[in-house]
Symmetry: D2
């Protein structure tokens, strides 16, 4: 590229197409150009007749220096504004294991393409906050996590030659997206309809048109909802489960002792020895070698983990520093757990996150933007944080876990226990 020196500096032409008005891409691009010190002139504006029709605009971007112009071009490229003339990516070989070259291209969770040898190549295993590595032999590109970089990996550097196709935030599907943006976290909205919609999504996925990931925190057991989640697993509504030591431990505790964190599931009361139940449950499983062994020896005969083992639902129990024990099935190394989770999210089309901030954000980081994600928590802060950390596609549902799952099961045809 040799940007044209312009009266006021350097300039280049870009075009932007799609739902650029209602998805706010155009305002963002214009804002970005000004924020980075540039200016623009608009030509050939065409606004779609309705929400489904794409709009189009062609802009001449000008900047005082060539560096400034490049910075603007790469920045607005992330919103889908592509130069009318295209450029190939730059590639650098990794010189250090577990780190990118300086200036590496940092990924988003949106569908991304890179231009190599004059052709646009889609990037596989899209995930935010990674780099892109290209295999020149096969001509295939994919996201790679920082820790997984090997010396010699061909890493994309800079943003020229990349383009993203932002997933419309509900454009075309959801009317009144503005109201929607405000209402996600509210607890004062009619929610029954949303539960019904979630049920519908899960039914479709269970019928073979998708793959459902459930991410769940221990409150599922504390609130007495384990039987509801067990039902969902039994009936094929859960294809992958991610959780931590706590969920599995208290699930096994309720099976062994009828308590969760020592609180009786029957009476809601606590007994003094109860606080030890979870520890004794972990110890027993450690003595047996693992959860599968406990199921196979008919010692663990119900609950969430039992159903996962019985119905071959793969799970990841990721460790944390607050774990007691932990259970032998827990992956204590966070990098190993991430790698395992990365494998299992492939093909996931719908993700239900229930009552867990840490795991929700961790999984949100791994999922591409086009996976429908519903985050259910009684604490509005969890839902807000998820969106703040970049998982924009999530629908937040501020509600209580137990009745949420109870009504979800009813909607799916189950009779509540």
């Amino acid at each position: 590229m040799t940007p044209t020196p312009h009266a006021h500096g350097f300039s280049d032409d870009v075009e932007l197409a799609g739902h650029i008005i209602d998805s706010l891409l155009l305002p963002k691009v214009l804002d970005e150009i000004n924020a980075l010190g540039g200016d623009y002139l608009s030509h050939d504006i065409c606004i779609g007749h309705n929400r489904r029709d794409p709009s189009y605009v062609r802009l001449t971007v000008t900047a005082p220096t060539e560096e400034c112009l490049e910075r603007i071009l790469v920045s607005i490229g992330q919103h889908g504004a592509v130069p009318v003339e295209h450029h190939d990516i730059r590639i650098e070989a990794a010189d250090i294991a577990g780190a990118f070259p300086e200036g590496f291209y940092a990924t988003t969770n949106e569908p991304t393409e890179i231009r190599f040898g004059g052709k646009w190549i889609p990037v596989d295993r899209q995930e935010m906050d990674c780099g892109i590595t290209l295999d020149p032999a096969s001509g295939r590109a994919r996201c790679v996590a920082m820790a997984d970089v090997k010396i010699g990996d061909r890493i994309v550097v800079g943003r020229l030659g990349t383009r993203v196709h932002p997933v419309g935030r509900g454009s075309g599907e959801r009317r009144h997206s503005f109201g929607f943006m405000n209402s996600t976290v509210s607890s004062e909205k009619p929610k029954h309809l949303t539960v019904r919609e979630i049920a519908e999504q899960m039914r479709r996925a269970a019928e073979g048109n998708g793959r459902i990931l459930v991410v769940a925190g221990p409150a599922v057991v504390h609130t007495g909802s384990h039987e509801l989640l067990s039902w969902l697993i039994r009936r094929g509504y859960v294809h992958v489960l991610f959780a931590g030591n706590a969920l599995a431990t208290h699930d096994i505790e309720q099976s062994f002792y009828g308590t969760s964190l020592g609180i009786s599931m029957e009476s809601g009361g606590s007994s003094d020895e109860g606080h030890e139940h979870h520890l004794r449950s972990i110890n027993r499983i450690r003595r047996l070698g693992g959860i599968r062994q406990a199921v196979e020896q008919n010692l663990l005969t119900n609950g969430i983990m039992y159903e996962c083992i019985s119905h071959n639902v793969p799970f990841v129990l990721a460790g944390s520093i607050r774990d007691d024990g932990p259970l032998p099935d827990v992956i204590t190394d966070s990098l190993v757990a991430q790698t395992e989770m990365r494998e299992l999210v492939q093909g996931v089309t719908f993700c239900l996150m229930i009552a867990t901030t840490l795991h929700s954000i961790a999984v949100g980081n791994l999922l591409p933007a086009w996976v429908k994600t519903v985050c259910v928590d009684i604490n509005p802060a969890t839902v807000t944080k998820l969106a703040d950390r970049g998982t924009f596609q999530s629908i937040g549902l501020v509600t209580d876990v137990e009745p949420f799952l109870r009504i979800l099961v009813q909607e799916l045809g189950g009779t509540s226990p």
Copy 2:
């Protein structure tokens, strides 16, 4: 009383009986004596064999001055520690309308007696933060609000000659009260059992053994739960309803327009004109003269207010400064509203507060401590505040309104809409 001048000052003997260990009364009394500068010697301690048996202790309280001793005696009297020798109350005539004499006895919400003419008289219409007025002719005593004092009313002054019988906080009824105290506000406990208990209480009351007061905020309508509350009214589970302009307005809005605050109850979406619906609803009712007129003219044909009118359930709509309109049925003067509410709480045995901080605290202030109160809110702060303001008898349930009511209705035999 002539308290005995003691080696270290003045002293008097008190006795304390009942569930004084597990209800924490004894620790509080001992703490109080020390905190106010006194000392004690314990005699005749007898601990009940189990939770149902009363305990008993007799203490000699000593203090450096007579004033200090009196202060201690009146203070611990509020926890049920009564002097072995009794004294009559002091009475003063009100010299100003709408105010008590200085030094008036300020009531709690616990059962209270005053000693007059050597006899213990129970106080009627028990309510916290009032005074006590005695009618010497009839010999009857009752609580009186500050604003209701008339010149010449005989007002109890000081605390000598009064005694309260603290309602055991669940003692004898609920095992493990300590766990309970911590868990009220938690959202991480099994709650289905609590809903079942509430249903049981309401069923008993509906069968003629009680009177149910429901206090509800507009979120009942915003969350699409109005049909559930309507069902409860229709089936006789609500004997009195307290709410504000907002609940009634949005209830009528959903009946007239199918929206609440402009949000569709059907689709969850908002339309641009929707934000006017509540205003147009109020205006229409104002044009008709009131809610009853709208029902009688077949213009209001469903919803919470419709059911109240149709089933002769008395209600108070109390005004607030954030009201639009308001509806003609709203009592805009807060003192008039309080008086009206005071009348209607007489005989109430069970109070269900749903999603309203202001009204919950206001009603909590009016209720005697022996009325079972359940406060349901998704925000733990509301539940905490209620207890902080002195309504200790309330059971807080941190959960979501709509599923709570849905499951309550199911427990009472209704099929959810």
Copy 3:
């Protein structure tokens, strides 16, 4: 208007100018047209060169029926899209006192004009959820609350002939408005700068370029911040104060007893008699006749209310149903209180709301959109609710009252007590 019958129905031309891209007005207008069943064709689009330059678009709106077209035109008129050909308003005389004619124009809090006799007239006393009354003699228009309508008042009906000029939400002033929209309620952002900005705004207003309204809840006293607010009043940073019985009562309680709700301001501890202090404080003021009398008789010598009286800062203490007493200065009728507040908000340029949900929303309803409003609360829900109820111009600050005021006072040159 005789809208042109079009190939696909009826049509009319509208134009939209200003910051229509970055303020999201254009997307909203286009969305609205489709949502209401219409279609559009865009002409003459001109995008401003930068954030400060206005953009412009002219649209032909089409609809299947004349009614549908009118509905669209009035709806998008609220976003500033005005027909190229103009129309006068329709007026109807009020037939009932305290109610509008059906079909009345319901106001927003944005600057509004009505077209009468071919001329655009600005509406005085702009306030949301009111009607507009026109005095044909003087040709002046102003907002009127429903309850204040008198028979014969000339009320604007329908929306044709009205136009609003939406206040840009920070456009031109604040870069990156999108981030801003998401971040208002977050507690995880650097806030010191915001406090500095608030201080700057208050300094300018105190220097004669504005009028500051403070709306405060009792937590100001409970948290021991009364001395900080007193300092602000003393130094001229508060021109009007709105609060309730609780703030004034606990402020007077801390002056009389050194406690707030019985909690010592010195030690943080509670004493058993303390819970009566607020009641005794109210009673004493009632015996004196009012707060001013207490100040004049040198009985109330410090605190928030003392400073208001001493520095002639007008205040409204609005009553609520949870009030004890109340103080004689409290306006117990909510309509009377609203009227009083309406008078005092005239001329206000900056509003600081501290730790009160009820009063914040009530005052937010009364303020026009161009008054800068900062809502400070430790509970994110309060801030969210304020925006949900239409007070979009408010900047929410999720932080703790006491340290917020402490640092604000420091920024204004005070030394913290």
Copy 4:
């Protein structure tokens, strides 16, 4: 032990001494006896004259079966009720690595002794949810985590022969403990005094009378408080720091780029490239080999991590599944991180937890009950959870991080930046 067969079954005598009334130990013991199916008779009750004097009670506990009696005795032993006749512990050799024998004694965080060879031996490294291992050679006992058990370790089994000395929850130090218990989580209390107290504790520890552990979440950086925490480290008020990848990353990001999670620390605004800053910061440190290398090469010249390196303050950065990168200094295996943390908490006398739920609970689990712990968070749920999980000794402070640290620094004599 051969418990006496009693008229109603089996019986044994226990005694309970100390602050058994006001610390609620007696009510708990009595409650426990009944809850587990036993009965009691009280003798020799002696109530202390004041809060500082110990009380004493001797109880005969009866139960229908010998098993029931044993269960009661071990249970009430955890509250300090010890049999008048003593018994030695039972010991079993671990048969499996990483697991206890069934029936192992599960520890609390209270000071514990075991009776071995007729003598009471104190348990070292007290920590909740561990086992106790005894070295018969040296006669020393210490807590051991489940995962650290080696085959052949001598593990205490059952609870007979153990006794705990519950740390009075503030008894004798803090007046009005009951109010205190309720008020911890409230945001509506005067907090300035608490900050002053914390400063006083830290000053004493910094003067050589203690060891301060700070546990901090990334909000410390997001809110712009890193310079305040840096000051505390520089001045010797932090002896150990526990955090995660996020705190260190955003601290380094602010040093490298002036942003935290892409939000400018100066202006509060966000820039589009900013979201990559944390990733580029991690990558740079990975390229250098670690934080120390960055400091030594003068590339990292300020901030929290810089001060830790410069002032030889040991730290643990514990990994989690939501980490990007992570930094090379992060311990990704949670068991390794726990072991490292266990070493560093030895000798800690004061622990300040700031804005992190996960790390606060993890560290709370590791600390003995006698370490003073203050948990500061704007979210009341974090504080509540900490206490719910057994860290009773923590004082919760619901407030905003940045102003909290600002005022803490001021109290310690610093001038705020």
